[in-house]
């Protein structure tokens, strides 16, 4: 993994991902509203929200949560840069987890009971999805012969041909990674839950704006991971990958609107069962092919 492409990728991601992520978030609000029989806010509503948050007064409980959130943003951009410059998928997964850890630290730093419950739950969410992310990366390696994302373009068939179970498992934990209902345990965008804001309880103004932007970037990165499965030597596959990523986003919105929040025990249990069954079976079969 050379340094220069990653650096260029990171800068490009830091500029483009918030723009795309903002549109996706606006689309989410709009589609969610239509699913509920409402008109919904303008498409650019998430942008207005963040601009307003930046204009708010600076008030903070701990004084360091803003620093932690900046670190989380930087690591998110770095993870996106690694992935979209065709770098190491495993490294991208590790770096984005680093961002999640900084987000947890930001929540813990306020010492507020609600934020601490949210931070604890966020940690359980990381614990739930991480096995499947790693197994997904291993399956990717076994199918394409490399952890490098750029190498998918050398394949004659897309990675999905060998990794259907792992892809389904990844779609399952994608809901946890995007913090959507039924797995929006740590923080929710809907004010009808037993714990509404959780991690972001004590955040306001610019710090809260940073969490929003981080969520936009995360969405773009994770949908990038989704699309990656459908890439091969043919450049047309990029179009297919984008279509699949958008379909996955629509599926997430549909799930978000149709399922009530589960308890963390159920989330952890099912995420690990799915990881072991989908990821495990896929790895065993692929290993069987190799030898």
């Amino acid at each position: 993994m050379s340094f220069i492409p990653v650096l260029i990728g990171t800068v490009a991601f830091a500029i483009l991902a918030p723009v795309i992520g903002c549109f996706l978030a606006g689309l989410d609000r709009k589609i969610s509203a239509r699913m509920q029989g409402r008109v919904g806010p303008p498409l650019l509503q998430p942008y207005y929200d963040v601009r307003k948050l930046i204009e708010k007064d600076d008030v903070t409980v701990s004084g360091v949560d803003g620093v932690y959130m900046t670190a989380a943003l930087v690591f998110t951009a770095f993870a996106g840069g690694i992935f979209f410059s065709g770098g190491n998928l495993l490294m991208s997964a590790f770096v984005i987890t680093m961002a999640a850890l900084f987000f947890i630290m930001a929540a813990y730093s306020s010492r507020s009971p609600y934020a601490e419950v949210g931070a604890g739950r966020e940690a359980i969410q990381v614990m739930s999805y991480e096995p499947m992310v790693l197994l997904m990366a291993v399956c990717f390696y076994l199918a394409s012969g490399s952890f490098m994302v750029a190498d998918v373009f050398r394949g004659s068939v897309p990675v999905i041909c060998y990794t259907v179970p792992a892809f389904i498992g990844f779609l399952f934990i994608l809901t946890i990674k995007l913090r959507k209902s039924p797995f929006d345990l740590s923080t929710s965008h809907h004010a009808h839950q037993e714990l509404v804001r959780g991690t972001t309880t004590e955040m306001s103004g610019k710090t809260l704006a940073k969490t929003e932007v981080m969520h936009w970037c995360e969405t773009v990165l994770f949908l990038g991971w989704t699309g990656m499965f459908f890439l091969w030597g043919n450049p047309v596959s990029i179009l297919l990958a984008i279509v699949v990523a958008l379909l996955a986003w629509f599926l997430e919105i549909w799930i978000d609107n149709n399922f009530a929040r589960v308890k963390w025990q159920a989330m952890l249990k099912w995420a690990w069962v799915v990881a072991l069954v989908a990821g495990g079976v896929n790895i065993v079969v692929l290993m069987g092919f190799m030898f």
């Binding site: 029989g37 409402r38 008109v39 806010p41 509503q45 708010k56 007064d57 004010a191 804001r197 809260l208």
Partner: protein
């Protein structure tokens, strides 16, 4: 128009009384009125909110709660008193424990009367509040620039 009035997030507190206005506030968020069209979100967290919707009158038990929610909100912020009880104490004004309207506890920017307050009146009150929010936002920016 600035961004303050394009993304008004509300926090709603039901101080006391009959809950009629409380239900009307939630009705405003439902498909019939759908205030999310204007970017309004019911946040459930004072630190995220710009507009404080209070229903019901203030009494000795809840005055500290109303004050605390108001204090936790980040500037610029506005308060809308929803319903007659929140405006003046209403039918409960001479109860032994009732102190009066919300303005007995915190500064109120807009009074939206009605018993129960109609969702239209709430939306009207919030729209008026947006104008005040915009002014406060400008004033805050001015003071930041000078500092």
């Amino acid at each position: 128009m600035g961004f303050a009035s394009k993304s008004p997030w509300v926090i709603h507190y039901d101080a006391s009384s009959c809950n009629g206005c409380d239900i009307e506030v939630l009705a405003a968020l439902c498909p019939g009125f759908d205030v999310e069209r204007f970017g309004i979100i019911n946040t459930g967290n004072p630190k995220h909110a710009d507009i404080f919707l209070v229903t019901g009158s203030v009494n000795d038990r809840n005055i500290s709660v109303v004050k605390q929610i108001y204090d936790q909100m980040v500037e610029p912020k506005v308060v809308v008193a929803c319903g007659t009880c929140a405006c003046s104490g209403g039918i409960f004004h001479d109860c032994y424990n009732v102190l009066g309207g919300v303005d007995k506890a915190i500064p109120v920017d807009v009074y939206a009367p009605g018993c129960a307050v109609r969702p239209e009146a709430i939306i009207d009150g919030v729209v008026q509040a947006l104008g005040i929010l915009e002014e406060k936002s400008k004033a805050l920016k001015e003071s930041k620039r000078r500092a």
